[in-house]
Point group: C2
Chain length 509, copies 2
């Protein structure tokens, strides 16, 4: 879209990226802030996105042998205190339930009463409360591996919140597994990282980079944290999922022990892994444009909207009949093993406005049908992966025969666009000055504009990591594990010591 | 099963019904109490039941035009105070968040800090917090009806808890809708009651009675509360779902107003309706027997378990191949529009024990396959709707061809058994003495044993209702709306005044 063209979203990404993000959410009617500090309301269009993410991820979890369960929302303070690093990591941002009643305060209002002897923490993550159950469930090596997942809401009292990216309450899944050996637990940790990366690529069209976090960036209490990192259109990184190898730390804190084949009692090895409604934020920021939301078809709330166009009552009947006959033919078709999700929008509002509403909502395919289309036995199709004005007439039968492959093509186009953007904005940098320039804004008014991802050498020393963070607000997003090309040796950018491989640096959300 | 036979569950229903209930849950591995007061852990077999309930109810909600959304877990105290009856109904049993941090207490422990200026209530139901959003979403009659559902966790600080029936935290769905007129809101209230009743009958095999609650039993703040009531095997009633006509009470409390077609601003009319994990308790208590859980196939976590039986390695290979070939044929079949859910249990444990484990878990069909079955090209089938020893050989092809109709038959048998039990234990009673006898335990040691449901006349006066409740712990479960036969007039059991129709009396959970 040329600069002169008016866009549906104001401001544009170039003009003000953070504000553009908020406006895309608003224009697509995905979610809104609530009157409860930091909590969001996920509106139907946004929640349908989450349902599609959830349903498809859940299939992958079940295919890999996991079963769902549900554990208490509340964690007694004493459980929380069992793992020292863990509690230190979460204690400063948690919601604490201290009372169980509201009573008349004698002044027409209510005061809290019924104080609990032990405060309860609203779960910021469930390792400790799930660990208490696992300690009962696991007795023998025959009980292992134990592969459990939970879909739940989570509360972290974040200071600065932003819809989908960082909210006080959010929705997520948390996998928790128990294994007999180090190797099996590590294998699970890596396997689930792979499930996340595959899901992000195949469903969310996000070309994520898999890797391991540095010790400074680990989950509190984990021995290793692995992550997938995605590049947003402001060239910042967004951590889209994590998988933690917990070693025996949480097994010791929760007394998860088992009798091995030789009848010796040992501590088990555990993992945990999660993705959240943050994925919706990733999806918005990676794919949307200055006309609003762009959604990969596989997770789109609806695939196709039909917009009948008519003036007379006679035309109305003819156009609606024609439209409904097409819908009845394609609604039996399946895309990605699910029936096509089809909307017929016959609201009495201006057609141009209607069209733009659907563009802003990111629906993959818009079909307009008017009296002329009936004459030609055709439909008029707009695709969200193309410019809004790039619409064309398709013969009805061609449209019906090709609709599934068109959705595939849109999914692929969205992925490729994001992949090209990531490749274009990722550079191997071996020189400190060049690195500092890369991450320093050229435009003082827009400090968010910088080079993107840098693949550079690091000596594995926290001091050098911290210096870069302090100087540039740039962190090591991960030590990539996805390819071998990062394993060439070199010199640390900061101290010049030998480095075994490049790591991924970036600014992040 | 004759009295002399040993049962899998101890005690039996006759011996100690409440304890039998707990033991069925334990033997089926459905759920357990947690170390957090009143909160349960829903284990995989129990959670799969909930997922099946959830998925199928969700389809019905979407078919009736509802969309899912998600609202904050926390409700500011001031929101809660807006509707006087509502807050009075929930204030005594709620979890209150007052702090947002844990800090070092200087003695090696943690103390709460970061006190909130306004306490937050963990939602016991969401009318007030959802109302705050609806007030923003609804501006014009064009925005109506607004038909929203939420799947969520709920917290009510109950004094006496019991797994699935009454727990501090539970899972549920809550529908919240907004309408332009009284009539439309009432129509929705009744429609969703019908959806619940149909779902309970078709899926849970529960022959529920639909009706309206008396004023004394209404949801706090509602103008009318409708419910479905099911009879458990101890002849008590269990309220399995409710649908509330809220009139304009909550619209006024939350300022949900709209401009009507004549440009006049009016308060809207709202409804709310919900079912919860309590349905699992209903299902257990209505259908299970002294050998454990019985689950209607439509919501069973698995439909069929295959148990291969062999001694030699040679037999093992042959039996497993035969079993897997059958599984590969039937796994393409659909029952109730879902693929058959099949388990192959090849664990190295005693076959008798294995068989009993599955009986206790309530799986509808058990298939044992041994070397002799291979010779006969047959399978050996046990059905959960029949006695454990009532197993028979079926030709492989007959089994494959009939499996879906067998599941249908099991579903129907379970429903009919529950329906007959309800009919047998429901009596029209027109005499006070007879009524009191009906509800008075014959056996002092087992006060739970009583006659069942009584259909009797009531004058609609709260005094008579209260007297019965005080004397017998019997309440009016509902004023039935399901049939016309309750509309014959008569005299109130207590005061003798004219009554327009019979109402349903029962002891309840």
């Amino acid at each position: 879209m040329s600069k002169a063209t008016k866009t549906a979203i104001t401001p544009t990404r170039q003009e003000d990226y953070p504000e553009w993000y908020q406006q895309v959410i608003k224009a697509a009617d995905l979610a809104e802030t609530s009157e409860v500090r930091g909590c969001m309301v996920i509106k139907p269009w946004g929640y349908a996105l989450w349902e599609n993410i959830q349903r498809n991820l859940d299939i992958k979890f079940k295919e890999t042998g996991h079963r769902n369960a549900y554990f208490p929302l509340f964690i007694p303070k004493s459980f929380f205190e069992k793992e020292a690093e863990h509690v230190a990591g979460f204690a400063k941002e948690c919601a604490v339930v201290t009372h169980t009643k509201l009573e008349d305060d004698g002044q027409g209002g209510l005061k809290v009463s019924g104080e609990l002897t032990e405060p309860l923490i609203v779960r910021p993550t469930s390792e400790t409360i799930i660990g208490a159950s696992f300690a009962k469930w696991v007795q023998s090596y025959r009980d292992l591996p134990l592969l459990i997942n939970q879909w739940a809401n989570i509360v972290r009292w974040e200071m600065r919140t932003r819809i989908f990216l960082r909210t006080t309450e959010f929705l997520w899944q948390e996998g928790h597994t128990v294994h007999a050996t180090y190797d099996e637990a590590m294998e699970e940790t890596i396997k689930m990282l792979g499930v996340y990366a595959d899901f992000a690529r195949e469903y969310l069209a996000l070309p994520v980079i898999k890797g391991e976090k540095t010790p400074a960036e680990r989950f509190p209490g984990a021995l290793n944290t692995y992550c997938i990192e995605a590049m947003m259109q402001d060239k910042k990184a967004l951590q889209a999922g994590t998988s933690h190898f917990l070693g025996q730390n949480f097994a010791k804190a929760s007394e998860i022990k088992f009798q091995n084949k030789d009848s010796v009692v040992e501590y088990a090895w555990t993992t945990s892994w999660g993705v959240s409604t943050r994925l919706i934020g990733a999806l918005i920021m990676a794919h949307s444009d200055d006309n609003g939301l762009v959604i990969p078809p596989k997770v789109a709330p609806e695939h196709i909207v039909f917009i009948p166009i008519y003036k007379s009552e006679e035309d109305r009947i003819a156009v609606l009949n024609f439209t409904k006959s097409i819908i009845s033919e394609i609604k039996k078709l399946r895309y990605n093993d699910e029936y096509l999700r089809i909307e017929l929008d016959d609201r009495d509002i201006n057609n141009g406005e209607k069209n733009w509403q659907w563009i802003k909502k990111g629906i993959p395919i818009r079909i307009e049908i008017g009296p002329k289309d009936l004459e030609n036995d055709s439909v008029f199709m707009g695709r969200r992966d193309k410019e809004p004005k790039d619409k064309k007439s398709e013969k009805r039968l061609d449209f019906i025969n090709n609709i599934v492959s068109i959705l595939d093509e849109i999914q692929e186009n969205i992925f490729n666009k994001a992949l090209n953007f990531q490749i274009e904005n990722t550079k191997n940098i071996d020189n400190q000055k060049e690195f500092y320039d890369f991450f320093t804004a050229k435009n003082q008014e827009k400090p968010e504009i910088h080079g993107g991802f840098a693949m550079s050498h690091w000596c594995e020393n926290e001091e050098c990591e911290t210096k870069i963070k302090d100087d540039l607000k740039v962190t090591i997003r991960c030590i990539p594990t996805s390819t071998n090309k990062e394993t060439e040796s070199g010199q640390c950018l900061i101290c010049g010591k030998t480095s075994k491989r490049r790591v991924l640096f970036g600014k992040s959300y």
